[in-house]
Symmetry: C2
Subunit: 426 residues, 2 copies
């Protein structure tokens, strides 16, 4: 049986998981792929750190050359994180004609095109299934099962940290601050949670999903991003009363012949499968003209689920090696689509407005919406508390451009405050 | 650009869908696969039938030789249904060194091994993604993303007809007969619904799922099958009150070093994603040691979703042709596992017992369970109606062997009737 040597950059959570699966499932992997995959070397930042849970059958050093110039290593697994250092390592590995598997979403979202080109020039594989939605095999599914379909939308819960926080707020009635603290205690959120709760992590993943689903190559600035840190438990309760959960969704969709890419909290009907995606789990929904609606659900992070996605990349590299078919791009879909304009980005809306409880206040509010051509399907006014009434409305489809008119008008309106505004996902 | 000729056996729902997608998405398919796929001929049973919705750019005849002996045809798509005739056609196609794509689950479940061997001997592809769960790309996912993982369970809602009936009973409070009638009116159920409602259709799909997930080759007699035709709206209401939906599930799971394969109505907790799979939709859940729990959700049938799965097979054949890698089996996982014994097949149970409302009746019932070593976690007695009280119980995990003891005892017990008994899925 042929042996494939693997070099690991990084022995953190995912790296350790990769070693564990390779060691524990060695026999099955050999049986099913016809090759023996062996970790030959790991390069880490701090060689003195204690590492538990893995049988240490390979040298661990801090010199990249120990892998990059090691002829017994055919595949480099990059799970060290960071952007610049990882980019440098991956470029050197590809140029040394080593196949590369990475879980680095930020890197692929920003420098993917450059790395794909270098892999192609060197005739080697570059796979990154683990970069999006942890254990969910969404990228390989998009590239192998929907090639003949026209995808109209890819959307989902692709940040486990924020979904954990929203679940705790909705189910256990924690405040945002309490839920964030719990996420941090459980290791789901970092000390500085910005990347997760402000939507940047989801935006990077959505960029990669857009590559595969639409063949486009957006940059971070092309994504409309709104996080969950402003969200209150009142919003969650109001939404729930109307039959919706609030979820942070990444949504990339075709609008006419353009593409809209957005990360924002959305209202999801309680009987929609996305509403039952709880805690740190992820789910990605794909709408195709032929297939209709498909959802892939699973763990969005974690040592072994993410490592399993790395392993699926490794077994695919092994198959390519056995068949002599290395060097094909992971995603071969490329096309140019313009970004959708605010006037094209339409959705039903959930809107909460606070008004001073004075005669004519509600008349002013409805007048502002009427002049922006936005009409309601549901409208609910709560009794005034401290002289402030709450108006909760669900609208017919309205565009971002129309909402911008409302926002501008309300900024100058006395005694009327736009408290919350979310799109409704359907 | 190279052209690939396709011959179609069958122009029913799925066949028509295949032609539509090939015609409407021709440009995209050519761009993404680098090949032009063209239907060259269709063979049907009745050439005089009117066919709408497709542009007829190819001859339609009733002579199989028109495809099988046509040198311009490289891929045969079998969507004519039936077992014996389809088996004959596919064997002849494979032996004529034509690649075959089929959606025929019964055929693959029964004669899959034989056909796989013939395909291998002829160095051609045999793909059948559409045979299981319509538009959901579960087979390709199992074979390409979980090769390195040890799967412990594959389960799901894999019969759309029965799920439609159960949904209508639960949500719209129809009786079983009314729900079946509605399914027939909508074209989801056939005039003779046996195959769907008695679990045979799901059993065939579960056999194929077991091939891919566990490498085993069960026959229909290895599957424990119970359908939904005995199920009453009272069962559904009782289950709902305790926080469960009732779903017809196919469940194949490893138990120690054996395999248990079962199709039966199960109770699913209302907050479990499977409980939100409504009407004709399907969902397949995979538990892997590394990946944890993954669910793929989508349309389980329908013209275009199922046709999209055929198309994903076609584009994979095209890729194999371009790379000169044809002839690899769709599923390469093979191993022998014994069937689990009734004593190994354990689950929590939902049990409904009717007892004559006499002193000591409940004492007898609880005594019977105690002597079978089955204990309860929840127990609820309803007030007697016409002298008959209902006892609804949820048990700790109990084996099929223990339940068989109960059933035998109750058969001989006076005034005690086991009304319903379902496993609880978790």
């Amino acid at each position: 049986m042929s042996e494939i040597g693997i070099g690991l950059f990084g022995l953190g959570t995912v790296g350790t998981g990769v070693v564990k699966i390779l060691q524990e499932n060695a026999e099955q992997i050999a049986k099913r792929t016809g090759t023996k995959m062996v970790v030959k070397h790991a390069v880490v930042h701090n060689v003195n750190k204690t590492r538990s849970g893995i049988i240490n059958t390979f040298p661990i050093t801090d010199n990249p050359k120990d892998i990059l110039e090691n002829d017994s290593i055919e595949i480099v697994v990059e799970v060290m994180g960071s952007i610049d250092a990882a980019r440098d390592i991956i470029k050197r590995a590809l140029n040394a004609k080593k196949h590369v598997v990475t879980a680095n979403k930020d890197l692929i979202a920003i420098h993917g095109q450059e790395l794909v080109r270098i892999a192609h020039d060197n005739g080697v594989d570059l796979y990154y299934e683990a970069a999006v939605a942890g254990g969910i095999p969404i990228l390989r599914t998009l590239t192998s099962s929907f090639t003949a379909d026209e995808i109209s939308r890819v959307a989902g819960i692709i940040n486990g940290t924020s979904n954990f926080i929203l679940t705790q707020m909705a189910v256990n009635h924690l405040s945002y601050a309490q839920a964030l603290q719990l996420a941090q205690d459980k290791g789901f959120a970092e000390a500085d949670p910005t990347n997760d709760v402000e939507g940047f992590d989801a935006a990077y993943k959505l960029i990669i999903l857009s590559n595969f689903a639409f063949g486009v190559q957006p940059v971070l600035g092309d994504v409309n991003i709104k996080g969950i840190s402003d969200l209150t438990d009142t919003d969650i309760q109001d939404a729930h009363q109307l039959g919706f959960a609030i979820k942070l969704l990444g949504v990339a969709e075709r609008v006419d012949n353009a593409i809209s890419i957005e990360v924002a909290p959305h209202l999801v009907p309680l009987d929609h499968p996305l509403a039952t995606v709880h805690n740190e789990n992820n789910a990605v929904l794909v709408n195709g003209e032929s297939v209709g609606e498909i959802i892939l659900y699973g763990p969005g992070a974690g040592e072994l689920p993410t490592a399993n996605s790395v392993l699926s990349d490794l077994t695919n590299v092994a198959t390519d090696l056995a068949l002599n078919t290395s060097g094909r791009p992971f995603n071969s879909f490329n096309q140019d689509l313009p970004l959708a304009k605010p006037s094209q980005r339409k959705a039903r809306r959930f809107i909460v407005i606070e008004v001073k409880d004075t005669p004519g206040a509600m008349y002013s509010v409805t007048g502002i919406f009427a002049s922006a051509q936005i009409s309601f399907t549901d409208l609910k006014q709560s009794p005034a508390v401290n002289g402030i009434a709450r108006l909760i409305a669900i609208t017919h489809p309205a565009s971002d451009a129309q909402l911008n008119v409302i926002k501008t008008t309300l900024k100058n309106a006395d005694g009327i405050n736009l408290r919350s505004e979310y799109k409704i996902f359907s």
